[in-house]
């Protein structure tokens, strides 16, 4: 049936509709879905990691004894109070800061620098104000040998994917904060990284846009089989998206506990089981 194979996008979204319909209809489909999504081997091993900053001549212990194993394809949420070292940890994993104690091992190798296979979306969108939306995304290709037409094609596809068609030529100041975040996400995804690091990507957005982008992120993660680490202040967001929620504690920054979220996707925010997990995580903050 050629019509069923018109385009990958169409067949994927059709598949999604069928899956979510199936989830509502019959519980055994959920089971099958989970089996299919079962995480692979350990992809990223964070072992006894510590980080100390020099601040006005004093040693500031920001991270202490962080241990975390993240499996391939897993979605990890990290929550914790402001200043507990979440961004610091993410920068270590990204390879932006290599001065740390302990080991961060990614795909068998200790992290000693940045890698195009590990994409990061910063806490602020960090687009370059002098580059248009498409030029900002295309910049990610600078260190690759992808051909010019191929870059163009992929940039366009990525822009369409994050719903920004028509804004290719806009400068960052001409688009909204939420759109800027989507451009930043597109920039991080364009190189098809296997590991995606997100630092409170939706923190600056209004509640409605945030809900929409959370759904988009979940969709992207499902389609691309990414391993994802999401840092967030928002416990509901952490539970909605994560396979596991890592709760951090400050002074020094350390892991308090890890809460598994074994609810089927997409999660229903109003479901009692969802509330139970969310409230459980919230007790760590009061």
């Amino acid at each position: 049936m050629p019509q069923a194979l018109v385009g990958k996008e169409i067949s994927m979204s059709a598949l999604n509709t069928v899956l979510s319909f199936a989830r509502q209809q019959a519980p055994q489909y959920q089971l099958q879905d989970r089996v299919q999504r079962q995480p692979g081997p350990v992809d990223l091993a964070i072992q006894r990691v510590g980080k100390t900053f020099q601040l006005a001549g004093e040693n500031l212990n920001v991270l202490s004894d962080i241990n975390l194993d993240i499996r391939s394809g897993e979605f990890i949420s990290i929550v914790g109070a402001s200043g507990c070292g979440k961004s610091t940890l993410l920068k270590l994993v990204a390879g932006l800061d290599t001065q740390y104690e302990g080991d961060i091992v990614y795909q068998g190798k200790r992290i000693e620098g940045t890698d195009l296979g590990r994409g990061i979306v910063f806490q602020e969108h960090r687009l370059f104000p002098w580059l248009t939306v498409e030029a900002n995304i295309e910049l990610a290709f600078s260190a690759t040998n992808v051909s010019k037409p191929e870059r163009r094609k992929r940039v366009q596809a990525q822009i369409d994917l994050v719903g920004l068609s028509g804004f290719e030529k806009a400068y960052p100041h001409q688009i909204s904060g939420g759109m800027s975040q989507r451009v930043a996400i597109a920039r991080a995804l364009i190189l098809r990284p296997q590991l995606l690091l997100l630092d409170e990507p939706f923190a600056a957005l209004d509640a409605l846009t945030r809900l929409k982008l959370q759904q988009e992120l979940q969709r992207l993660w499902e389609h691309q089989g990414l391993t994802t680490i999401l840092v967030t202040h928002d416990v509901e967001e952490a539970v909605f998206l994560g396979d596991q929620v890592v709760v951090m504690q400050s002074h020094p920054g350390r892991i308090k506990r890890i809460v598994p979220v074994s609810l089927p996707r997409p999660r229903i925010r109003t479901a009692p089981a969802f509330h139970a997990i969310r409230d459980d995580v919230l007790t760590d903050f009061v």
Partner: protein, 269 residues
């Protein structure tokens, strides 16, 4: 609104309202006109000896006379070519040096103290030494312009490069931008506006110091023409030089401003 408040509020040049205000409107000509009228009136009243304070119409006549004989164009073209050569060399090397000193720890450690000390020396104080070093011919005049342009542009590009947010470099690092791309896509655009302002200031300084140098030691150029006028007691010729110096400086400054607004399309309104 004062410039200070504008800067504090982040109102910038590409803002259409600002651009409109920036354009010369008719009222802008009121004060120069009043000034010329006052000048004309004072010279008519003969408060000062007429040989000393010549009237505007005498200056205009002298201007036409100099223009007609081709003398003015000769002096002017010599001055402008010295200015152009010196400014080009000084500004481009200053730009390069400023960026490198900001980005390389080694270059900064090596040169920053010397640079900071040397830039405090007024260009005019260097004229005697430059004459001794480079002679009284062209090299000395171009060298003094190079000096004036170099230090001003180098300081502007050094400080603005130092001020590029670390965030931008982290993005560059995350995407492993090659050095060339780092300069063309991050460093240069980030410092463009302050560097252009540096260019404007450097240009004004170069022009002033060149005319001063020509007044002191030259056999051609606008400054020399004024010096000759003074020696022959032709104050009208001196005044032609004064007015032209001002007008040329003003004109080129406007061109820089015009370029600034057009080179930076990404500035928000």
């Amino acid at each position: 609104m004062s410039i200070g408040i504008r800067v504090a509020l982040g109102i910038n040049q590409a803002d259409p309202v600002f651009r409109r205000r920036n354009q010369l409107r008719l009222v802008a000509f009121l004060s120069p006109l009043a000034f010329i009228l006052l000048w004309w009136w004072v010279s008519r009243m003969e408060i000062f000896p007429t040989q000393l304070l010549v009237s505007p119409d005498a200056v205009l006549l002298a201007f036409l006379e100099l223009l007609d004989s081709g003398e003015l164009w000769e002096h002017l073209s010599v001055s402008l070519s010295r200015l152009g050569t010196g400014f080009l060399i000084g500004a481009s090397s200053g730009l390069l040096f400023g960026i490198l000193m900001a980005l390389s720890r080694t270059i900064e450690d090596l040169f920053a103290p010397l640079f900071q000390a040397l830039r405090q020396v007024p260009s005019i104080a260097l004229i005697p030494i430059f004459i001794l070093l480079f002679g009284i011919e062209e090299v000395f005049k171009v060298a003094i312009v190079v000096k004036a342009a170099f230090f001003t542009v180098a300081l502007a590009s050094y400080e603005s490069t130092k001020g590029i947010p670390r965030h931008y470099f982290e993005v560059a690092q995350a995407y492993q931008l090659p050095a060339r791309k780092l300069y063309t896509s991050v460093v240069i655009p980030a410092i463009l506006l302050p560097v252009l302002t540096g260019f404007r200031i450097a240009f004004a300084r170069s022009w002033t110091i060149l005319v001063a140098a020509e007044l002191l030691a030259a056999d051609s150029g606008l400054g020399h023409m004024m010096q000759m006028g003074r020696e022959m007691f032709r104050i009208d010729v001196v005044m032609v030089g004064v007015v032209l110096t001002g007008l040329i400086g003003f004109g080129i400054d406007r061109i820089f401003k015009w370029g600034e607004a057009r080179l930076i399309p990404w500035r928000k309104a």
